[in-house]
């Protein structure tokens, strides 16, 4: 009997151990942590995320040691060419055929939304770093994705509020005539009016537009103190360039770029952009920690990182940390665990992931330096003030997200 009992207990122990081992193995699917990087590598948003974002992702993986608790990390990457089609089918294939555990990057909003729908269907995990759409964690929110770096809400609101507070109380809005521009216009109008300013007039320009001279002329005729650019990307760049040719700033008006990135300012040059107020999620020269990371990035890429690049590094590191602590790369579990830890690194200050998937963190109001004040090529911004994390983003009380109990 005792003998049998002994055998029994022993075999139970062995079976349990085997079971445990198999569970542990199942938790790191395919014995690899697989990350897919989906971004526009060759089109309009190439400089915003593109190859630089992939490099930042690789840096994060290398700094982590290339493996999580001994499980190697593999990176896939693809160019979505700004096509929702290509993006969605790539992600579908990654998840179906290659068991990718997390998709990073996600740039153009159309691509990001399409990819996130697939990710939601397949119960995988997406970390959006480059898309601007606040709808990602509002009407399109899902338990399967996180939005990291920024969105239109703090970009527009932070800038608009700060400008009105500084006395820029009459606005002319130059709005891109499609859903994105309309939403931005609405947000800004609300903030400006709440802060005591007025919208004198606005004009809706088709998207995309290369020649803004006509609209700039209309803005000059409006007599408004501030000309707000409720557009993005190439449209913003073109508008700012044209404004500088028509002497908009010299004639006493000021430009407010609502969605402006470091690479835009760099491309336009300080002559055209000096004095521009904008909101940013991070700036490479804002403190020692940031500078240290930025310089490592610079050595590899030959250009300074923007907030998206830094955000990709930050989010990937947070993801890998969570996977390591959890001992599993199961997307749903990881997503939940990611939200339980605050995020404080060189990129994010006072960061946390809210229940709608928004990673809120401190944002910064910046002003573009004048050519005289700039000491070198990449010395572009002066940080004026910090917008605290909890004030920067759209309050949950206004959220339409199905994950938020309102």
């Amino acid at each position: 009997m005792t003998f049998n009992k002994k055998i029994l207990t022993r075999s139970i122990a062995v079976a349990a151990a085997a079971l445990l081992a198999s569970v542990a193995q199942a938790e790191m699917s395919d014995n690899e942590v697989r990350i897919g990087y989906l971004a526009d590598m060759s089109g309009t948003y190439r400089d915003l995320a593109g190859p630089g974002g992939l490099e930042a992702l690789k840096m994060a993986v290398e700094d982590f040691g290339g493996s999580v608790n001994g499980t190697p990390i593999e990176i896939f990457s693809a160019d979505d060419r700004n096509s929702a089609d290509v993006g969605a089918s790539t992600v579908r294939e990654w998840i179906d055929q290659r068991n990718v555990d997390m998709v990073a990057g996600l740039v153009a909003t159309s691509v990001a939304l399409a990819a996130l729908k697939v990710i939601e269907d397949k119960n995988s995990l997406g970390i959006v770093s480059a898309s601007a759409a606040s709808s990602i964690t509002n009407e399109h929110c899902a338990p399967t994705h996180v939005h990291w770096v920024y969105d239109t809400y703090p970009m527009a609101n932070g800038t608009a509020k700060a400008i009105v507070d500084q006395g820029g109380d009459s606005w002319f809005l130059l709005t891109a005539d499609y859903a994105f521009g309309h939403a931005l216009e609405e947000d800004v109008t609300e903030v400006v009016e709440e802060s005591g300013g007025t919208i004198v007039d606005s004009v809706r320009h088709p998207f995309p537009t290369s020649d803004f001279s006509s609209y700039i002329l209309q803005a000059q005729g409006s007599g408004a103190k501030i000309v707000g650019l409720a557009n993005a990307g190439a449209d913003t760049v073109n508008a700012i360039n044209t404004a500088s040719q028509f002497g908009l700033v010299e004639s006493g008006q000021q430009l407010a770029g609502l969605i402006v990135f470091l690479n835009d300012v760099y491309a336009m040059g300080l002559d055209a952009t000096q004095g521009l107020l904008l909101t940013t999620g991070w700036y490479w020269n804002m403190d020692d920690e940031s500078r240290a990371w930025a310089e490592r990035y610079y050595e590899r890429m030959g250009s300074m990182p923007g907030m998206v690049h830094a955000g990709i590094y930050s989010s990937t590191t947070h993801y890998l940390n969570t996977v390591a602590e959890l001992g599993s790369d199961d997307p749903v579990a990881v997503r939940a665990a990611m939200a339980e830890k605050p995020i404080n690194d060189f990129f994010a200050r006072n960061g946390r992931i809210r229940e709608d998937g928004r990673m809120v963190h401190d944002m910064y109001l910046a002003q573009v330096k004048s050519p005289e004040d700039s000491t070198h090529e990449w010395d572009l911004y002066e940080i004026l003030s910090t917008i605290p994390a909890e004030e920067a983003y759209r309050p949950l009380a206004e959220s339409q997200c199905k994950l938020v109990n309102n």
């Binding site: 190439r46 593109g50 088709p206 609209y215 002329l217 028509f246």
Partner: protein
């Protein structure tokens, strides 16, 4: 204040002026297309890419060789023109005997190659080219502030259009060109080197595009994709004008610029589409185009 349809006269005049300046680009580009089409019978889909290359030669020659804007005005059209002649010699000539649609397809492929390669080297954000010093600042016209550079663009484009017209209508070379358009075989029989004439014509057509590119460099960010979307609008302009006449191409280009400019004041939402709408109207009423000869 005098008002025109609810818009102050001053604003109205300003907008007309700006429309005319944009029209100057349409005119230069459609002129080049018309010259090429006249002799080669192909629609040069690489025209937008040539415009873009003109701007890039300007930008890069300044950046790496220190060549200034004024020199670039000559050098860029020359370089791009020679490049175009090479393309004609090596590629277009081999399909000249085929349906002209193949020419369209070939040049479309070339446009993809040029744009795609430059995107890889320069990205798409676009680089800024400084306005030449002599053309900085602006005129206060009373009704608007007109940057000197834009005035220069309008003047330069019109002069070049006029010279082209003069060359084609009033010189011996132009006479050859017109005769070659009518009957190349007969010209060849008369001892005119028609293949050379074709090469020169293609080179000249793309040089016009490159010239427009130089003019555009200080105005718009110089980016690999700057030409392609513009080209489709120019196609519509060409359909509106018909490719029958040189002067027709120029007038239609300027006219469309004006119409677009006015749309930006009265109904800005339609500014991108108005030229296409005009095209539809013209197709319904005069299918051969305003200045076109063939049906």
């Amino acid at each position: 204040m005098t008002m025109i349809f609810g818009v102050p006269l001053a604003v109205f005049m300003g907008q007309l002026m700006l429309g005319l300046i944009n029209g100057a680009f349409y005119a230069l580009l459609s002129l080049g297309l018309a010259v090429i089409f006249g002799l080669l019978k192909i629609v040069n889909f690489a025209h937008g890419a040539m415009y873009m290359l003109g701007a890039f030669v300007t930008l890069l020659s300044m950046r790496y060789l220190g060549i200034n804007y004024w020199a670039a005005l000559i050098i860029a059209p020359l370089v791009v023109g020679l490049f175009g002649m090479l393309i004609e010699r090596v590629l277009l000539r081999r399909i000249a005997h085929l349906d002209h649609l193949y020419g369209l397809l070939l040049t479309f492929g070339l446009a993809l190659i040029f744009e795609g390669s430059l995107v890889n080297f320069f990205g798409v954000s676009g680089a800024r080219y400084p306005t030449p010093e002599a053309l900085q600042g602006g005129f206060q016209l009373g009704f608007m502030f007109l940057p000197v550079y834009r005035a220069w663009v309008l003047g330069a484009a019109l002069v070049v259009c006029l010279l082209t017209w003069y060359m084609i209508e009033r010189t011996r070379l132009g006479a050859y060109l017109r005769a070659g358009t009518e009957n190349p075989a007969l010209m060849q029989a008369f001892g005119v080197n028609v293949p050379l004439l074709i090469t020169l014509t293609y080179g000249f057509g793309v040089a016009l595009a490159a010239f427009a590119g130089v003019l555009a460099a200080p105005l718009y960010p110089v980016s690999p994709t700057m030409g392609s979307s513009l080209l489709i609008v120019v196609f519509a302009v060409v359909v509106i004008g018909g490719m029958g006449s040189i002067i027709g191409a120029v007038l239609t280009g300027l006219g469309m610029g004006l119409i677009e400019g006015l749309t930006k004041v009265y109904y800005p939402e339609a500014a991108n589409t108005v030229i296409f709408l005009v095209m539809i109207l013209v197709l319904l009423m005069r299918p051969a185009g305003l200045f076109g000869k063939e049906a």
